[in-house]
Structure formats: structure tokens, C-alpha cells
């Protein structure tokens, strides 16, 4: 029968109503409190996994941890010496085993409570507690009792306190923290300067744990719950968008903190980051510039590059014959035309390296580079191994694994071309998704696997340590007891010269054995407003936002548009080796 009147009107109106509804949703959802532009905005890379400093694995996390929390000591922004931070001074015992840190009387948490030695003790205890799952817990193994505590059973109450009493991290006074080592380590203070060694406010954490037994893990890093002792406090956190930090009024050195507010953008797309920078909406971005863009950026004076303690290298699976033969691995290494990769592919000042330890950190002489000579040397090694000359065996085809990325593909192609040209070695490029790639590397299911290592401490040991037998970062199947012994000795060596000698000897072993094929040493690549001061220029690019400030005291206005554009004189400063 006849349609009811409402249905008829409904039909007439439905499309318009639907459209209107859709438009309303579109227009209404943005009702965020508008944030004024921060004093300083930087592109921080992928969203931080956590604000918990004890879980701060990557560079973005560490930058934020630096801003929010303060360690006992810190590194100088323009160098590598250790400066006082949360501890105004420290003393070492004569045997270099005991450290005493004097905390600052005026230091306050962001909730106003004083920063006490017991806070540090509780925080280190939390870090070592297996329940915390801190990936850094093992770094404190040098402390007496730490390893036993972190690998022991999960305990509670009295028993836990009992167990903790065996760990030599102790608040020996309200403002005095004492730590005792199993053996002396020359880099212990550097370790303590790492952001993961910053304290968290365990008391408030425990309170939250009681109030919100199931949600506290997610809640305690929210602005309303997070208690910090650093130069900045967390004001707002928008997932995958930004972290808004503001100068902490309770920070002991608040008067010397340059920026009133900082935005860390959770953005890992270089193109978008560049757009933001070019239009003045970001003041600093760093990271891997796509090589295609490098020549363009080189014309800008605000594109700056410095040596960076990172090495790009290829792992060789030494468990697969014939690559268990060091001579062949060495030949692989010698026939990579690194200069061509750096000059033709990367072009941002990356430096060819034949050593896992980049930038001649151990003061070894610069290697003379003559690709022709290297190839001849490689031929010699091949002949020795029976893969060249009369009745030569044929080298089996190699699979080169890399994770999906243009640069990695380009480099793999270049390397494969070099090997084909010089050794008639056939290579298959295997492009793998990141986690698959990591997995096959971990399971030694590869021939050659693209890798890199960025140091978290300015120390050659940091690089050499990864190749120790059984290290979770070794992933080559390579093992050499002599090498392990040298590294272990270097760890305990207090005399810097002797230590350097041990490390150099270890490096020599590594170079001779060549389980990894170093390719190039990293440079930092920053696009940064020239008016920024206090920017760290040290080798590990350890930024401390506390020191950042604008030259004129305030952010320069009128940044929109192509600042310091191509008309500026070409930046001709090549990165210099330290």
C-alpha cells in the first residue's frame, strides 16, 4: 500500500541527513586544546615506545629520557668528558671500586619532593628487578650483586629486601649514594651518564600500582602521573603526534634551561619532516636523509654533518662453508669498493671504513685506500684458499639480506656488483621486512646480512663487545677465545694506554678474521636553525635538551619559507675525524 508519509520524507531527507552527519563528524572531532607553538620543535623520529627511562631503547626514547630525567652525571655537550648532574660531585676509592655520589640539596622532583639517594637506590633496584623487564638491566652487572639479583627469582616483601641487601647500591646518607663494583671499569661513569641510568620516582610509581593494580603500567607515564627530576616536565602526550615538554620549575638549574617549551614530534617520514622544517614548523630534524636529497641539501648551510659513532657493516654467516674460511671473508671485504659507495651513493660525507670501530677511535693510522691494491690482495687470498688460478673451486652464490629500504638495496647492489666484477661471485639480493630480517639474522639463516651499530657510549669497546662469543649481538657464529679474552681484559683494565692496546689487538684479530665487513662510518645529518645554541656536537650525538637555547633568547620569527636556501654558500665543511 501507499508508503507512509514519514518514510517518504525520510527518503527525501536521508541523503542530505547522511551527508550532513558525515560533514559534522568531520568538522566536530577536532576539539583538542590548542597548543601554542613550542619554543623549540624537533622531529624525534618514530613514536617513543615508552617514557620509562629504563626501557628507553632507541635514540628517540633516549632524547626524551634526557629531557625528563637527570642522571647522576652527564656528558659535556661539546665533548665527551663527564660533568656533574644530579650528583654535584662524586669520589672514587683508590681501588676504583667504590663510587660515592653527593646529591644536590636543592634538587627536587617535579612533585616538589627532594631528590634523595634513596630514590636512586630504589630506581636502580627497580631496573634490576626482573619484573621490570628492563633491557638494560645487564649493563649493571659490574655492580656487586647486581647480576645475581636480576637473574634471581622474583621475590616480594622481606625476602626481596633481603636479596637487595646483597647488591652494593646503597643510599649511605640522605644525599649520598654509594655503589661498589666487582672490578674496576674505566667507563663506569660514562655508563651512568646514559639516559637509562636516570632515576624514576619509585614512590609515586608504587602508589599508582596500589591504586590501579591493572592499569598502572600504562598510567604512570601520563602527564598527570609522571614524576620527573629533569630539566623538563611532560605537559602533554599525543600518541604518534607529539610530546610537549615544558621547563620544570622544580629543577635545580631551572634558571639555566634555555627553552620554556619543547615539542618532540613523533614523525619518522623524512619528507614530511623536511616539509615541516622548510615551513618553519620544526626547528631541527636529523636522521637519514634519503641519498637522493643529499645533493640538494648540501647547498644549504643549515644542513650540517658531523662524524657519528656508528658503523654500517655486513655480517657474514661464518658457520656456512666456505665462508668459515677467514681468507675468503677477508677477500669479500677487500673487494668492496667503499669509496664508490660513499661518494656515489651516500654523498653526505660518510667515511669508508675497514674497521668495525669507526672514525679511527683507537687512534690507529688512517688506512691507505687503494681499491686496486685491495683487489690484488684479495686475489692472493683467493688463490691461497684455492678459489683462483689453476683448478680453482667455484665460489657458491651468496644471498645478501637487507631490510626493505632504498639505501640498503642500493648498497647491496653495489656490493654485489663489486663481487661479481672482481670474483665472478653471484649474489642474490633478499629484501626482507624488518622483523623477518632481524629474525633470519638472529637464527643465522643468511649468508650476508646488512647491519649497523650505533654506539651508546663513546668507546671502542662498545663496538668490539658485540663480537664476543655468545653476545646477543654477535649473530655471525664467529667466535675467537683470544678475542674474547682481550675484550674481557680491556673491560677490567684501568690504565687507558693498556686498555687501548688491548682493544687495538682485539680489533686486529677482528680485522684479520673479518666476520663482519665494515662499509662506512656514519655521519650525523642535521637540518637545524642556525640560531640554535647548546646543541651537542659530541661523537655519539648525545643531545641534552637542557642546554638548547636560542642565540637571541627567543625563537627567531619569520621562519616560514625556505630558510637559508640554495642561495646560501655551499656548505663545504666535510666531517672531520676526531
Amino acid at each position: 500500500m501507499a508508503a507512509s508519509i514519514p518514510a517518504r520524507f525520510g527518503r527525501r531527507l536521508a541523503p542530505s541527513v547522511a551527508l550532513l552527519g558525515v560533514a559534522t563528524v568531520g568538522l566536530l572531532v577536532v576539539n583538542l586544546p590548542r597548543l601554542e607553538r613550542a619554543d623549540f620543535v624537533f622531529v624525534n623520529g618514530a613514536e617513543v615506545t615508552s617514557l620509562d627511562p629504563q626501557a628507553a631503547l632507541g635514540v628517540p626514547e633516549q632524547r626524551i629520557a634526557r629531557a625528563l630525567f637527570e642522571c647522576l652525571v652527564e656528558r659535556a655537550p661539546d665533548g665527551l668528558e663527564i660533568l656533574p648532574a644530579a650528583a654535584q660531585s662524586h669520589t672514587q676509592s683508590a681501588d676504583k671500586l667504590e663510587y660515592r655520589f653527593q646529591l644536590r640539596e636543592q634538587a627536587r622532583w617535579s612533585n616538589g619532593e627532594p631528590v634523595l639517594a634513596s630514590d636512586f637506590e630504589a630506581s636502580f633496584r627497580r631496573m634490576l628487578d626482573p619484573a621490570t623487564q628492563s633491557p638494560f638491566a645487564a649493563q649493571l652487572d659490574v655492580v656487586v650483586g647486581a647480576k645475581a639479583y636480576r637473574t634471581g627469582p622474583a621475590l616480594a616483601g622481606e625476602a626481596a629486601d633481603q636479596a637487595w641487601s646483597k647488591v652494593e647500591i646503597r643510599a649511605s646518607g640522605p644525599l649520598e649514594l654509594t655503589m661498589r663494583l666487582e672490578y674496576p671499569r674505566v667507563d663506569f661513569l660514562h655508563l651512568l651518564a646514559c639516559p637509562q641510568m636516570a632515576p624514576v620516582h619509585v614512590a609515586s610509581l608504587k602508589r599508582l600500582q596500589q591504586d590501579e593494580p591493572s592499569k598502572w603500567r600504562r598510567l604512570w607515564n601520563r602527564p598527570e602521573h609522571l614524576v620527573t627530576n629533569g630539566a623538563f616536565v611532560l605537559v602533554e602526550r599525543r600518541l604518534n603526534e607529539r610530546l610537549r615538554l615544558a621547563r620544570s620549575s622544580t629543577y635545580w638549574d631551572s634558571a639555566n634551561v634555555g627553552m620554556a617549551s619543547i615539542d618532540a614530534l613523533s614523525l619518522d617520514s623524512f619528507g614530511t619532516a623536511l616539509n615541516l622544517y622548510l615551513t618553519g614548523e620544526a626547528d631541527w630534524l636529523d636522521g637519514n636523509v634519503p641519498p637522493l636529497l643529499v645533493p640538494t641539501l648540501l647547498e644549504r648551510k643549515d644542513y650540517q654533518r658531523r662524524p657519528y659513532l656508528g658503523t654500517y657493516f655486513l655480517r657474514v654467516n661464518t658457520t656456512r662453508p666456505p665462508w668459515n674460511d677467514a681468507r675468503l671473508r677477508k677477500a669479500l671485504s677487500l673487494t668492496i669498493d667503499r669509496r664508490s659507495i660513499c661518494n656515489n651513493l651516500l654523498r653526505a660525507g660518510q667515511r669508508p671504513t675497514w674497521s668495525l670501530v669507526p672514525w679511527n677511535m683507537l687512534g690507529e693510522p688512517m688506512r691507505e685506500t687503494d681499491y686496486g691494491k685491495d683487489v690484488v690482495e684479495a686475489f692472493g687470498l683467493l688463490r691461497e684458499a684455492g678459489y683462483r688460478g689453476e683448478g680453482a673451486k667455484r665460489l657458491p652464490a651468496l644471498e645478501i639480506h637487507f631490510n626493505s629500504s632504498e639505501v640498503h638495496r642500493d648498497i647491496a647492489e653495489a656490493v654485489a656488483a663489486d663481487w661479481k666484477k672482481t670474483m665472478q661471485l653471484d649474489c642474490v639480493l633478499v629484501n626482507q621486512e624488518w622483523k623477518v630480517y632481524l629474525d633470519s639474522q638472529k637464527r643465522l639463516d643468511y649468508d650476508i646480512s646488512r647491519s649497523s651499530w650505533i654506539a651508546d657510549m663513546p668507546d671502542a669497546l662498545n663496538f668490539l663487545e658485540i663480537m664476543v662469543t655468545g653476545s646477543e649481538n654477535n649473530r655471525t657464529g664467529w667466535s675467537d677465545p683470544e678475542y674474547d679474552a682481550k675484550i674481557e681484559a680491556a673491560r677490567r683494565e684501568l690504565d687507558l694506554q693498556a686498555r687501548k692496546r688491548l682493544l687495538t689487538e682485539a680489533l686486529d684479530i677482528l680485522n684479520a678474521q673479518t666476520p663482519v665487513l665494515p662499509v662506512y662510518a656514519y655521519v650525523t645529518q642535521d637540518l637545524m636553525r642556525p640560531e640554535l645554541q647548546g646543541f651537542s656536537t659530541n661523537l655519539i650525538n648525545d643531545q641534552n635538551p637542557k642546554h638548547w637555547r636560542w642565540k637571541s633568547g627567543a625563537r627567531p620569527k619569520g621562519q616560514r619559507g625556505l630558510v637559508g636556501s640554495s642561495t646560501a654558500e655551499k656548505a663545504t665543511r666535510p666531517p672531520k675525524a676526531p
Partner: protein
């Protein structure tokens, strides 16, 4: 109407179960885990993490744990392990393995509105404009206007989203700085993303409308309308377009699904904290709980959007559903 809705609902439940089970199996079948990183973890710490998230369990057990508030830990059926998370049946999607400070629900709550807004804006301009252009093209079929629109729509369909996004950035953010290049803090920030996201939809709607109107212009009822003495405008807009809209409305379901799931590129280029990013990144990060949560929500959304479009289309067509007794 109600029966149709119930049928849709049953279909939804079945799809969700299948999608969840398949995604769960696939997620765990691919190599690599959530805590793998370039810098390897100490084995004991890795074991700690795995234990905390039950990753050391067999997959079927993890799935049960994910689905419901069953506590399958060694501490019995209702022990302390239950506080990890309650399971999907209890509407708890668990904690994210990558974003350690967030529950999956938090992440969805933060990112879905952005995607909704973006998608709604994209639809709000693209569908009306597509209809307008499609009808114009049909009304002027064979003229230069039609040819121009055809070129435009073909380009819109052929060009990938990131090209449209980049071009619009070049023109409207750099050459002619009307809009910000990226970010999410005002409506102005949404203009270019909504444009880039909606462009393919607009072109598709335009084509759909054009062919529909052209087809209808051949039909008898259009002749009747002309025969009444109605002007060309009334004939096209009131008669020919009206029935050409039905397929367009039906297309809105798939279109909004495509816009929701296809927002990744646009979100990335314009730096919008939407759910499209999580849709892809959670899988790449092996963030099992987040990936499953996003998949679940998207399944429900896509399903509902399609059902809604279907229901709307059948509501708009009086011939469907309320069949007369005569």
C-alpha cells in the same frame, strides 16, 4: 528492515571470529617478534618479556587468552595472571606491545577519531562533488566539459594517493602557501589531507554518477518527465540523477572502507595521528595485540559501513523491502 539488520549482524559475528582467528594465526606465524630489535636483548631479559606477555605459550593458548577472560596460566583458572588483560570478549584488547605506555583501547580511542574525521571530511567533499561533476559530465556528454572531466577523473583514479598528496602540497602549501604542510591541530590542517584522501573517491563517484545519469537519460521515465514539459535541469537533476544515486549510495560502503583503510599514506605524509598508521605499523612491529585490535575494529567498521550503505540504499529505494500486499 529488522531482518536485514539481523542478517548483517550474524554475518558480522562470523566474519569477526574468522578474521580474528586467521589474523592471530598469521601474526604468530610470520617470523620475528615484538621485542626483536637491531640491538639484541639479553636472553634472560627476552625470556622475562616473553613470560610477561605469555609469548612463551603455545599459540592456541595465547589465542584463548586473547579472546576471553580465561586465565590459562600455571596459577589456575582465575589466578593473578588474569589482570594482564581480560580478553576481547570482555572488550579488553590488552596492552600494546610496541607502545608500552598504552593499552590497545587507549590507542584506538586516540587515533580513530582522527581517522574518522579525516574520512568524514574526505567523504563530505568528495561525494557531493563527484555527484555534481558526474551529473555535469552526463548533462554535457560529448562536449569539451565532459572530455575535461573525463581526463580529470581518469587522473584521479590512476594517480596514487601519495602523488596527489605531494602535488597538492607543492601547489597549496609551498607555491601558494594557503595550508600548513602537515600536522593536526586545526581544521585548516585537514584540508589537504582530506583532499588527497577524497580525490580517488570523488573521481569514482563522478564516473559512477555520469554513467548512471547517462543510462537513465535513455529511460522511459525521463521521456515522461520531458513530455510533461519539464526543463532539462529538472529532468536531469530530479529524474535522471535520482535513480543514478542508488548505486552511488551503495558504493559509499566500500568507499568509506577504502578511505578508512587507505588513510595510511595520507596520514604519513601529513603527519596525522590516525589509525591507518597503526593498521600497518602494528603488523610491522609485530605488536600482536594492537594489530589484532585494529584489525578487529576495522572489520567491524568496514562491515558496519557496508551494511549501513546497503540499508540506506534499500531505504532510499521504495521498491526494496516494504513490498506491498496488493
Amino acid at each position: 528492515m529488522i531482518r536485514a539488520a539481523l542478517r548483517h549482524l550474524a554475518g558480522l559475528v562470523i566474519s569477526v571470529v574468522i578474521v580474528l582467528a586467521v589474523s592471530f594465526a598469521l601474526m604468530h606465524a610470520v617470523p620475528g617478534g615484538p621485542f626483536d630489535a637491531e640491538r639484541g636483548l639479553h636472553p634472560e631479559i627476552e625470556a622475562n618479556l616473553a613470560r610477561a606477555y605469555h609469548l612463551d605459550w603455545p599459540v592456541w593458548k595465547q589465542f584463548l587468552q586473547y579472546i576471553g577472560p580465561f586465565n590459562l596460566g600455571p596459577d589456575g583458572w582465575l589466578g593473578t595472571g588474569a589482570d594482564r588483560f581480560g580478553g576481547v570478549l570482555a572488550l579488553d584488547f590488552g596492552p600494546s606491545l610496541r607502545h608500552r605506555d598504552y593499552d590497545v583501547a587507549d590507542i584506538l580511542a586516540a587515533s580513530l577519531p582522527v581517522s574518522f574525521q579525516l574520512g568524514a571530511l574526505a567523504l563530505a567533499w568528495s561525494v557531493p562533488l563527484g555527484i555534481l561533476l558526474g551529473t555535469l559530465a552526463a548533462a554535457r556528454a560529448g562536449t569539451w566539459l565532459d572530455a575535461l572531466l573525463r581526463v580529470l577523473t581518469t587522473t584521479g583514479i590512476v594517480l596514487p594517493g601519495f602523488v596527489i598528496a605531494s602535488l597538492s602540497l607543492l601547489v597549496f602549501a609551498f607555491a601558494w602557501p594557503l595550508f600548513p604542510v602537515a600536522g593536526w591541530s586545526s581544521l585548516r590542517h585537514m584540508v589537504l589531507p582530506a583532499f588527497a584522501l577524497g580525490a580517488p573517491c570523488a573521481t569514482y563517484v563522478a564516473r559512477l554518477t555520469r554513467s548512471g545519469v547517462l543510462e537513465n537519460l535513455q529511460l522511459d521515465f525521463v521521456r515522461t518527465a520531458k513530455g510533461k514539459g519539464l526543463g532539462r535541469g529538472a529532468v536531469i537533476w530530479r529524474h535522471a540523477l535520482r535513480s543514478a544515486l542508488l548505486p552511488v549510495v551503495a558504493y559509499l560502503g566500500p568507499a568509506s572502507a577504502a578511505i578508512l583503510t587507505g588513510s595510511l599514506v595520507v596520514e604519513k605524509i601529513f603527519f596525522l595521528p590516525g589509525a591507518g598508521t597503526h593498521f600497518v605499523n602494528s603488523a610491522l612491529n609485530r605488536d600482536y595485540t594492537l594489530a589484532l585490535g585494529v584489525t578487529l575494529v576495522y572489520t567491524v567498521l568496514v562491515f558496519c559501513l557496508n551494511a549501513l550503505a546497503d540499508l540506506l540504499a534499500s531505504f532510499l529505494d521504495p521498491r526494496v523491502g516494504g513490498r506491498q500486499e496488493s
